[in-house]
């Protein structure tokens, strides 16, 4: 498939390039721009990024494949990244993962038949005190998961709504 950046994308890419003394450092941020636009960075999108930045395809491919957040193929509409790392494991992260596997009828790493959900098991997301938790499609964190909260989340996503940012105050502080 032929992919193209929009005019706004190209403007954003120019702004990104201005942040660095060379063009190569724009690789990661421009892959992000591409993923936002196309939903993934499959080999064709990687080529577009390489051509736009005038960098070798092999370089962009190498970078895209090194970092886990870039989707090297099309994913479900919503990607659920469930953390099962240390603190989440201690607080029931695997229960949440298995509950989702059952609920969605897929194993981790798979996408539901209707293309709505991809389920992944991921490493620590830096939310250890709010375990167990998951991240939705590289965006919002959903913390303090229970089965009920998972049910609500799935319903909400099916309804076309996205979760809000969950503000977690400092436990020592009263005012914020």
């Amino acid at each position: 498939m032929a992919y193209e950046f929009t005019k706004e994308d190209l403007e954003e890419i120019e702004k990104i390039k201005a942040k660095y003394p060379e063009v190569m450092p724009a690789t990661l941020p421009v892959l992000w721009v591409a993923q936002k636009r196309f939903g993934h960075v499959d080999p064709d999108v990687q080529k577009l990024v390489a051509d736009t930045l005038d960098l070798p395809h092999s370089h962009v491919h190498g970078v895209a494949s090194f970092y886990t957040q870039y989707y090297k193929e099309e994913k479900g509409k919503h990607v659920l990244d469930v953390c099962t790392c240390l603190s989440c494991q201690l607080c029931g992260g695997y229960d949440i993962l298995h509950y989702l596997e059952e609920k969605l009828g897929v194993q981790k790493g798979e996408t539901t038949e209707d293309g709505m959900f991809t389920l992944n098991e991921v490493e620590c997301l830096g939310a250890c005190g709010y375990a167990p938790m998951l991240q939705v499609t590289n965006d919002k964190y959903v913390n303090h998961l229970t089965k009920e909260k998972v049910d609500e989340l799935i319903e909400m996503l099916k309804d076309g709504k996205s979760p809000e940012y969950e503000k977690i105050g400092m436990p020592q502080r009263e005012n914020i």
């Binding site: 660095y20 892959l31 090194f66 965006d139 020592q172």
Partner: protein, 431 residues
């Protein structure tokens, strides 16, 4: 040693001030006065070196894990030669158990920006990058907004506060790779490459970003700088434990009633942190073990904790360290074999694969631990694991291999009975 009076401590990194993340509120509360002082008060700060000396005297020990004196690190930068120089701020925050820098991004981003600018001025840096893990999308946006406001306020950019000093400040988002928290891997990632750690020497101060002098500091480390500039090195070094002074953002997770991030002085008794600060153990369970500062720091059994405080000297007496002060608390029901296997899985997953002892070693650790976890291990596998850790340590390009080896060695040694009990009964002589 006198004990630290943490009960009356008033937070300074994340103080109880509403909307402090907004630049106006930050300024109203004395924000950017430290930067103004170093840039314009030539009597107090006759040259850049005086700033470095003050920070060195404060002994802000790096909050990214290694605990190195920040001012001392700054002094390693070679003399300015008119070319570009960089400060790379480490907000990768990916060590399991660590979730503190995000509180700075959310609640007090300008404190970090001010600290980074003071550091940049002191080292005659021309451009600052803050590398934030890609998963922290919301915090990346918050930081970008704060930086935009600081540009607008004249605190970043050309001729900062009329001093003639120019400095740019950019956010760089990661994209999912723990290894990019290792400082030279982070530089590679900033340069737009795969995050393979670099062989040292040369050290970043000599050849960092694009071959130019570069210093790397953790975000929290830099957030301590404005306080030192405003209140003096002595103020800072009198907070908490003598050899590891200052406020600490403790991240407490696991089986406690009130997990979260708490700003308190260093040197707090570990047991106070668990029982008094974090609300004690969940469901009235008994404490079994604590990992004091992120998954790589050696685990402590509950019976080792009497009198132990959160600072490098005290933790060293029980063979562990402060790390990132991300404390993971485990209750009596915790299965040490499962827990350790999960840590080993993490390091195997995150090894970049450049060095054979790390690539192979982390794989073996995980595989053997999985075998034991599944009830197919033998006693001799425990010695095999210990042997693998010895072969991994100190033989690799970066410290990930050590970070993977320490928890395995220490958890097995400190919970040997539990590991043996999981090994095959035919080998272990149980009736």
């Amino acid at each position: 040693m006198s004990s630290v009076d943490w009960k009356n401590y008033e937070p300074v990194i994340i103080p109880d001030i509403k909307d402090l993340h907004k630049i106006d509120v930050y300024k109203k509360n004395g924000g950017y006065n430290g930067l103004k002082s170093v840039l314009t008060d030539k009597k107090k700060w006759p040259e850049q070196k005086s700033v470095i000396d003050e920070v060195k005297a404060a002994n802000i020990r790096g909050r990214g894990g290694a605990g190195f004196n920040a001012g001392l690190k700054w002094s390693f930068m070679p003399p300015a030669d008119g070319g570009p120089r960089y400060l790379a701020c480490n907000g990768d925050e990916s060590e399991p158990g660590t979730f503190k820098d995000r509180k700075i991004f959310e609640y007090n981003p300008h404190l970090f920006i001010e600290g980074a600018l003071i550091a940049a001025y002191a080292m005659q840096v021309t451009t600052i990058y803050v590398y934030i893990r890609g998963e922290y999308k919301d915090y990346i946006d918050m930081m970008q907004n704060a930086i935009d406001d600081a540009y607008e306020g004249g605190y970043i950019g050309k001729d900062i506060l009329g001093s003639g000093y120019d400095c740019d400040f950019y956010v760089h988002s990661g994209a999912g790779a723990y290894i990019c928290g290792e400082e030279t891997s982070m530089l590679e990632s900033l340069e737009g490459k795969r995050g393979y750690p670099r062989v040292k020497p040369p050290f970043p101060a000599q050849k960092g970003l694009w071959g130019r002098p570069t210093t790397i500091n953790n975000v929290e480390t830099l957030a301590h700088v404005p306080g030192v500039i405003k209140n003096g090195a002595e103020w800072f070094s009198n907070i908490g434990a003598a050899n590891h002074p200052g406020p600490i953002l403790y991240g407490i997770s696991g089986h406690v009633n009130k997990p979260g991030v708490y700003e308190l002085p260093s040197g707090i008794p570990v047991l106070d942190l668990i029982d008094k600060v974090a609300g004690g153990m969940r469901n009235g369970k008994k404490l079994k073990a604590v990992i004091p500062g992120g998954s790589s720091t050696p685990i402590l059994r509950a019976d080792m904790l009497d009198g132990i405080t959160m600072d490098s000297d005290s933790l060293r007496t029980v063979g562990t360290m402060m790390g990132t002060a991300g404390m993971v608390v485990m209750d009596e029901d915790t299965d040490m074999v499962d827990m350790l296997w999960r840590i080993a899985h993490f390091y195997h997953h995150e090894s970049c694969g450049q060095c054979t002892p790390c690539r192979e070693g982390t794989g073996w650790l995980e595989k053997v631990l999985l075998k034991i976890k599944n009830g197919n291990g033998e006693i001799k596998d425990l010695d095999l694991l210990l042997d693998i850790t010895t072969q991994m340590e100190g033989r690799t390009i970066c410290a990930l291999a050590d970070a993977a080896a320490w928890p395995v060695r220490n958890t097995i040694n400190r919970f040997r009975d539990e590991f043996e009990a999981r090994c095959k009964k035919s080998v272990h002589a149980v009736a």
